[in-house]
Amino acid sequence: MPTFVYMTRCDGCGHCVDICPSDIMHIDPTLRRAYNIEPNMCWECYSCVKACPHHAIDVRGYADFAPLGHSVRVIRDEEKGVIAWRIKSRNGETDLNLLAPITTKPWGEHIPQLANVAAPTKEQRDSQLLFNEPKYIRMDDGGLHTLESNGLELKEGVYY
């Protein structure tokens, strides 16, 4: 279900207008607050929800997996480099807080300078491997990562 804006929270800063990949977050010509101009075209990517500095944008989850009255909200904290989610069920029994890193290095300081990288050799060009493989998929520290190699096993049924 599409995004919507809490009008009392929005200050019309334009971050959602800037980031929306479908270009459907716009500023209301009269009220000068953001709104979703075409909810049918919203694919709930949450970009605007995460970009909003006032947490003024929310998303209603699809009713088939998330009953009305539930809540899924997010804070993307750039300076701490993490994203936090909170999922609440409508009866309040489930109240999950989740936290995950979104960067391991300060933003914008470690952009690979590809122009300075040496051109690939003939051998590299003919190889199946892509640029910086196997280093980037961590195969150089012992083969492909699998459930088995990580000491895990696939269990039957739904589990958490």
Binding site: T8, G14, T30, E78, V82, P101, T104, W107
Partner: protein
């Protein structure tokens, strides 16, 4: 020049009573407009319904002393210094416009109803100047449809722009009227007519303007603080401190990928202004 009371000359031509009646009429228009706006938009009903909903998911009760200190901090931060704005340029322009307007209105009332001289004429001019500079900056550069949607400053909508346009015309024409002699003839009369027309438009279109935000914005800011204090946080998650061992124990990905004391990562997408419309 700025220490001259521009209303002195008017007393002889249109009378002190006429000016006082005009100010009272405008005050009545503002009160009536705000009440109509609140009832029409149901903003007060929404606000209390929302507050009740937040109270249901509260994790702790906020004492009345705490509520009082939150109300005081709302007044000192959000109301007096416009701390709610994420954009510093907008905050500065809002401060100039808001304080300019308050000083301008208070000194107008003081000069029309009471003391004719003293510090009031100077405050009146400075208030109008601050209003014109802050409002002009906002109108030409910061206004959200101009800065975020790429519209030109002259693409106006009546309901969207009546507030800022009448505010700007009022302050600028008031200043020019005063500097051209504050008389009721020639060029000065033209700016006096503009000044009064803009002021009348400003105070009588409260129902379509942003005037009511003086009441609902502080209320919303206070409510936001209450939800933070009582733990309901509008259902938003806790982020916590990344160097906290409890966070490390609960979310092992944090120390594994970011280390036990991650640095400040600085700004990511917020490094650039949102002007890629």
């Amino acid at each position: 020049m700025i220490s001259t009371n521009p209303f002195t000359g008017l007393e002889a031509s249109i009378g002190a009573e006429a000016m006082q009646i005009y100010v009272i009429l405008m005050a009545v228009a503002v009160v009536a407009g705000v009440i109509f706006d609140v009832i029409h938009k149901k903003s007060a009903a929404y606000f209390f319904e929302n507050a009740k909903k937040a109270e249901k998911s509260a994790k702790r009760t906020v004492s009345s002393g705490e509520k009082m200190s939150l109300a005081v901090s709302t007044v000192t931060n959000e109301v007096l210094t416009s701390s709610e704005f994420a954009n510093p340029a907008r905050r500065l322009s809002h401060l100039m416009t808001m304080w300019g307007f308050i000083i301008f209105v208070v000194s107008t009332v003081a000069m029309i109803f009471g003391s004719e001289a003293g510090i009031w004429p100077m405050l009146w001019h400075l208030g109008a100047l601050s209003l014109a500079v802050g409002g002009g900056w906002f109108f030409f550069a910061i206004r959200v449809d101009v800065s975020s949607e790429g519209k030109k400053w002259y693409q106006l909508s009546f309901r969207g722009d009546v507030f800022i346009v009448s505010l700007l015309v009022m302050s600028v024409s008031a200043l020019i009227w005063s500097f051209t002699g504050a008389a009721l003839s020639g060029l000065s009369l033209l700016f006096f007519v503009l000044f009064i027309a803009a002021a009348t438009l400003l105070f009588t279109t409260v129902i379509w303007s942003k005037f009511a935000h003086m009441f609902f914005k502080p209320a919303a800011a206070y409510q936001k603080k209450i939800t933070k204090a009582d733990g309901s946080q509008e259902n938003l998650p806790d982020v916590g401190e990344m160097s906290d061992p409890a966070i490390h124990a609960r979310y092992p990905d944090i120390p594994e990928y970011m280390g036990t004391n991650p640095p400040n990562m600085g700004l990511g997408i917020k490094r650039e202004k949102p002007t890629h419309y």
